[in-house]
Symmetry: C2
Subunit: 298 residues, 2 copies
């Protein structure tokens, strides 16, 4: 019953996000139309829209932003950045993945040059969309933008991707593992939780609590990802299963083994639950989302 | 005599820009230090710093921003974006260039994954640096940021790179040629001219005039680039000469021939000169810079 409610809400959000993304990425003519087509191919290739949905859920629940056009625009930015990172991550010189969400990756559908440029273009359009989002104070928008970029760049997602890609140059220990997962996955999930607070000019304490919850939820999400990579089939995953092991990646499972990884997921879920209780959401969706993150491995 | 003055001013600006860039890109420790090292390698690999120098020259001349720390920060952003675009452009699946400014390109020095991620990271850090630049009104900074991204992304530089890379899918005519050169080169040079106006909240008419001058100067710069690609040696160019021809690129020379291309450069230089006269700069440097752009082909 509870799960059905969350499913319904997530699918409603997904529909709205998909519509907004398609609007941003549809170009009828112009020499650059094929570039937009490539961007839209990857953005439309499935995806649960978790990160933008988190932004909409938190913004609606805590800041009365349910019908805020600007929040939807910044949520689209987050999804475009997520897609850009997947496109570049899938490239042959990186993770070399032929499938993503059950469809050919962009460099397989087109070629590498298209994938590199479509990624670059999505990132640029994401930031442009954020910078032009409506209905926020300039000060709040700049704060949000700065925070977002801290989580995307050399101290965020890209840093995590770098260490993950060059793992052979690092010690395989818990410090490096946590660095990769915090930066590569948790940073953007944390940003999704905390951005609505920054954008609506909420107090620092509120922003920090949401960022912390997001980090914890993001780590939970990534531990679960590491686990299902070895326990589920390619069909269910929509991407090549067992890839982490084959690529000698440093994951919670490769470092700690399956059973300990599961126990760490339980612990991270408890932390996330506690933080979520402290925030005291008005609706049940965020707490339910944390349960959903955890349930993926069960 | 006049040329010596400009040389001196440009070399002074370059020193200051280099120092500021090194400060932004030097990281002493942390797992992401090698990523910063890679970014700094490409940013430090020569380069005349034309785009940031234009920003400093225009800002100093028209808006009294000679010692404006924020202007230097945004100028660094422009150079980081320029370097990011070169790194991705040089990749094997794109222009496949082994040398840039006489040094191995980043994917030759390290590998492709480092080049892709260092480019991504430079772009992100560039925008973050811009968003955090000091001493501007929030409103002006957001306007500047939006304008910059319009010139970088799907309607700017990346669009030009896309059509340039996929030229075999397009008709080889003047419309496509102008599209590529306007977007790929002129857009960022135009942004360098016009950003100081936006950032200091100048009137629209002033901003538009500077943007127009920048577009004209950028086209002149690119026509000259097309010409010296066939008339100068690899040693002088610091990159592989005759590359455009070999890669079947659409250039002013390949479409119109050398002599007509030279005449078009003369015409573009005249337009730029006229626009520069209209703006009525206080110092001789911008008019001299336009002469310098033109003299490259002589």
């Amino acid at each position: 019953m509870i799960q059905k409610n969350l499913d319904f809400v997530l699918s409603e959000k997904k529909k709205k996000i998909d519509k907004a993304l398609t609007r941003v990425l549809t170009k009828k003519k112009g020499f650059n139309k094929p570039l937009y087509d490539a961007m839209l191919y990857s953005v439309s290739a499935g995806g649960k829209r978790l990160r933008p949905a988190i932004m909409l859920l938190v913004g609606g629940d805590l800041f009365n932003m349910d019908k805020h056009e600007g929040l939807m625009q910044t949520a689209c930015s987050i999804e475009m950045i997520h897609t850009y990172s997947l496109i570049h991550d899938d490239l042959p010189s990186m993770d070399d993945d032929d499938f993503r969400r059950g469809l050919p990756t962009l460099h397989k559908k087109y070629d590498e040059s298209v994938a590199i440029l479509a990624g670059d273009a999505l990132f640029s359009l994401a930031i442009e969309t954020f910078a032009k989002a409506e209905g926020f104070k300039d000060k709040d928008k700049l704060k949000g933008l700065s925070f977002l970029l801290e989580n995307v760049g050399t101290e965020g997602m890209v840093a995590g991707q770098y260490v993950d890609t060059k793992i052979d140059n690092y010690k395989r220990n818990s410090l490096v593992l946590k660095y990769i997962h915090l930066k590569k996955t948790a940073a953007m999930i944390s940003a999704s939780f905390a951005l609505p607070a920054l954008l609506s000019g909420a107090k620092n304490a509120c922003f920090e609590r949401l960022a912390k919850l997001g980090t914890s939820a993001g780590l939970l999400f990534q531990i679960a990802d590491d686990i299902i990579d070895v326990t589920q089939s390619s069909e269910v995953l929509g991407k090549t299963a067992g890839k982490d092991l084959k690529q000698n990646k440093l994951t919670f499972v490769s470092l700690y083994g399956l059973e300990k990884a599961k126990r760490m997921a339980v612990k991270e879920a408890q932390t996330a639950r506690r933080l979520s209780d402290e925030i005291n959401f008005n609706t049940p969706y965020i707490p339910e989302l944390i349960e959903y993150f955890h349930k993926r491995i069960k």
